[in-house]
């Protein structure tokens, strides 16, 4: 296989707290290939957003450190790249969209002003040329009456339209990689379906890679080709989407899939995972899921478990279950 577009290796991200440093992301490795669509799924505190922000180094410098690991984009280590190189990559090579489109837009500038900022910065487009491209982009993200909408301020637009504007801004320079952090979480379900469809079409038309971060297994199942499951700062399982949903191996993945309420189920009660999500400050020796795991063994409590291959495409951070899977399937 050719070298992946983006390759994160053994990344650890720590935040400063009163008592010292806590790890929000711990030894995370993942790849995004050219044209790939990778979904990262996890609950609060899983480290999925922190991982994404680390790629473009959007954390506050004073309170964050990355003591180990590398993030290599087309062979260049972003963690060690000079500021000028990062500025060239941000927005042009790798673009990002966030959950709340309103707080990502400047309320006192028109849509056209904000989209042309990216075009000016990276492509030197100004005046009528920039304007023409803005209207083109708004049409591209299916905003009706684009020429008139370009002069609107963000408050004039609905949540769905604002997210379309954010997407237009993100794809303005035809990035190779789009990082979408919960892009539809703040939207109603019919609008969510529209935005996911738009992202899928754009991905096909532009051939860009997408890293989609979501807490919603439904969104992940629908959109991603490959899935990375995170729990309490660590990757616990990685697999192609079909394998992950048909035979999850890590007990957390299994539990999470079972806990999703189903539209076609008449079960009297939902399936739960006992206990609660640990805070990053909690020191849990061994596997961080062990206090909630129904299949916990003594060995789980001793040391952080390694990521083991289930098959060429699937890996899980649970040695007992990976071995049990191997025994069952030879």
């Amino acid at each position: 296989m050719a070298e992946p577009l983006l390759s994160i290796r053994n990344l650890t991200v720590q935040f400063r707290v009163d008592s010292g440093w806590v790890s929000a992301v711990d030894d995370v490795s993942l790849d995004v290939g050219e044209g790939d669509c990778v979904g990262i799924v996890g609950e609060s505190g899983s480290g999925k957003s922190v991982t994404a922000l680390s790629i473009l180094q959007l954390h506050g410098r004073a309170t964050t450190r990355m003591p180990s690991g590398s993030i290599s984009y087309r062979g260049e280590d972003l963690l060690r790249a000079p500021g000028a190189a990062l500025r060239r990559i941000r927005g042009r090579e790798i673009a990002m969209i966030f959950q709340d489109p309103m707080s990502s837009l400047n309320p006192v500038l028109t849509i056209a002003d904000q989209i042309s900022e990216t075009l000016r910065q990276h492509e030197g487009l100004t005046g009528a040329a920039a304007r023409k491209r803005v209207v083109e982009l708004l049409g591209f993200v299916r905003i009706p009456d684009a020429a008139r909408r370009a002069d609107d301020y963000p408050h004039r637009l609905s949540g769905g339209m604002r997210q379309r504007v954010m997407i237009a801004m993100a794809i303005a320079c035809k990035p190779r990689l789009l990082i979408a952090d919960e892009p539809t979480t703040a939207l109603d379900v019919t609008i969510q379906a529209q935005i996911l469809e738009l992202l899928r079409e754009l991905r096909r038309e532009m051939g860009m890679s997408v890293m989609l971060i979501s807490h919603d297994l439904g969104v992940i199942a629908e959109f991603a080709q490959r899935v990375v499951v995170m729990y309490a700062g660590r990757v616990v399982e990685q697999a192609p989407v079909a394998e992950l949903f048909s035979h999850p191996v890590h007990p957390y993945t299994t539990g999470l899939i079972a806990a999703v309420p189903k539209l076609d189920s008449d079960a009297k009660r939902l399936t739960t995972i006992v206990g609660r999500i640990p805070s990053p400050q909690e020191d849990i020796p061994g596997c961080r899921f062990s206090p909630r795991c129904s299949l916990v063994q003594e060995s789980c409590l001793l040391a952080p478990p390694p990521m083991l291959d289930v098959s060429a495409l699937q890996a899980a951070r649970c040695p007992p279950q990976v071995m049990a899977w191997g025994d069952r399937h030879g």
């Binding site: 609950e43 609060s44 609905s158 949540g159 769905g160 339209m161 109603d188 379900v189 019919t190 609008i191 969510q192 379906a193 529209q194 996911l196 469809e197 807490h215 919603d216 297994l217 439904g218 969104v219 992940i220 199942a221 629908e222 989407v241 079909a242 949903f245 539990g255 999470l256 899939i257 806990a259 999703v260 309420p261 189903k262 539209l263 076609d264 189920s265 008449d266 079960a267 009297k268 009660r269 939902l270 399936t271 739960t272 995972i273 609660r276 999500i277």
Partner: protein
């Protein structure tokens, strides 16, 4: 059924004045809403932003007044001329659980005092009765006794929602309005709270109005479901029917839009357009600009909610 409904809502309307540079406009939050809730039943009220589901819930517990129409709780009409007195008579039997459990708890109040507050206000409890009741409530919602001395920030979102539920149950209500009680919670916590609410209903015979945007959660909780769109109920049916055979084109679109945790699922069709402005709703059926089946009549005539089969009703000209 021999029992009278404990909640009867008839032709309920709510408008809000909205001030802007050109003067004042009227926002039509609810238009002609009708529903009943029977004892021990859960009515799931589902819809997207601006559908009016929260407004309906707030009127039901007397947090805001109705503009017109009537709401009767346990046979007391809280919307009539002596509505205030009627509401006071049933107030202790009503409770409300909101979406954000952190905003519902005073950060400087210990959990024990927070749960006991309704008891203190209702008065007539000795110190021992009060403390016994708090301990009993904590056990009921599955929290350790030691929680009494602790503060809200020491608890996770799921645990805080348990505290809010314990407080809501302090005075033994018969009817609880739950407005998006699990939508701020993670999936693994959400399932715990849904099961807790179901267990409490079994044990205490509670009736719920369960307001949520998540159709799958509504299915898990409800006996009957009412789908709202732009301030009106467009369809209501027992839950098994509405999920298996939705009738209203909006119910279909809504169900179809929900992402399935199943990679082999292929969506048929994505509904176009957005929810209309309630300041200037479209004439006729409010869904007609997005409806693939709309015909001439839908553009001019508002469809009424009419029976469309045993125990179900739909507001759509296709079913006339």
């Amino acid at each position: 059924m021999a029992d009278a409904p404990i909640v009867q809502v008839r032709d309920l309307r709510k408008t809000f004045p909205v001030k802007h540079a050109g003067g004042t406009s009227t926002l039509h939050a609810l238009s002609a809403v009708n529903f009943d809730i029977m004892r021990g039943e859960t009515l799931g009220l589902v819809g997207e932003s601006g559908s009016g589901k929260t407004t309906a819930g707030r009127i039901l517990v007397g947090l805001i007044p109705a503009s017109s129409g009537s709401v009767s709780l346990f046979g007391h009409d809280i919307t009539g001329a002596d509505g205030k007195a009627q509401l006071a008579a049933v107030r202790a039997r009503l409770q409300f659980v909101f979406q954000d459990p952190f905003a519902s708890l005073n950060p400087r109040m210990r959990i024990g005092s927070a749960i006991a507050e309704p008891l203190d206000i209702a008065s007539g409890h000795t110190r021992k009765d009060r403390n016994d009741r708090v301990a009993e409530l904590l056990e009921l919602v599955g929290l350790p006794k030691e929680s009494i001395e602790r503060y809200p920030h020491e608890f996770s979102g799921g645990q805080r929602q348990r505290i809010v539920i314990a407080r809501a149950l302090a005075l033994n209500p018969d009817f609880v309005v739950c407005d998006e009680p699990v939508s701020a919670l993670d999936v693994s916590m959400q399932a715990q709270i849904v099961n807790l609410l179901l267990d409490l209903q079994d044990r205490l015979g509670l009736s719920y109005l369960f307001i949520a945007h998540d159709l799958a959660v509504v299915r898990a909780m409800s006996t009957r479901v009412a789908v709202m769109y732009a301030g009106a109920i467009v369809e209501t049916a027992p839950k098994s029917k509405i999920y298996a055979e939705p009738q209203h084109p909006y119910s279909k679109a809504l169900l179809d839009a929900v992402p399935r945790a199943d990679p082999s699922y292929v969506r048929q069709h994505v509904v176009a357009g957005e929810v209309p402005s309630l300041l200037d709703p479209p004439p006729g059926c409010t869904f007609h600009p997005r409806c693939p089946f709309a015909f001439d009549r839908c553009h001019v005539e508002v469809p009424a909610l009419k029976p469309s089969g045993p125990d179900r009703a739909v507001a759509c000209h296709l079913f006339d």
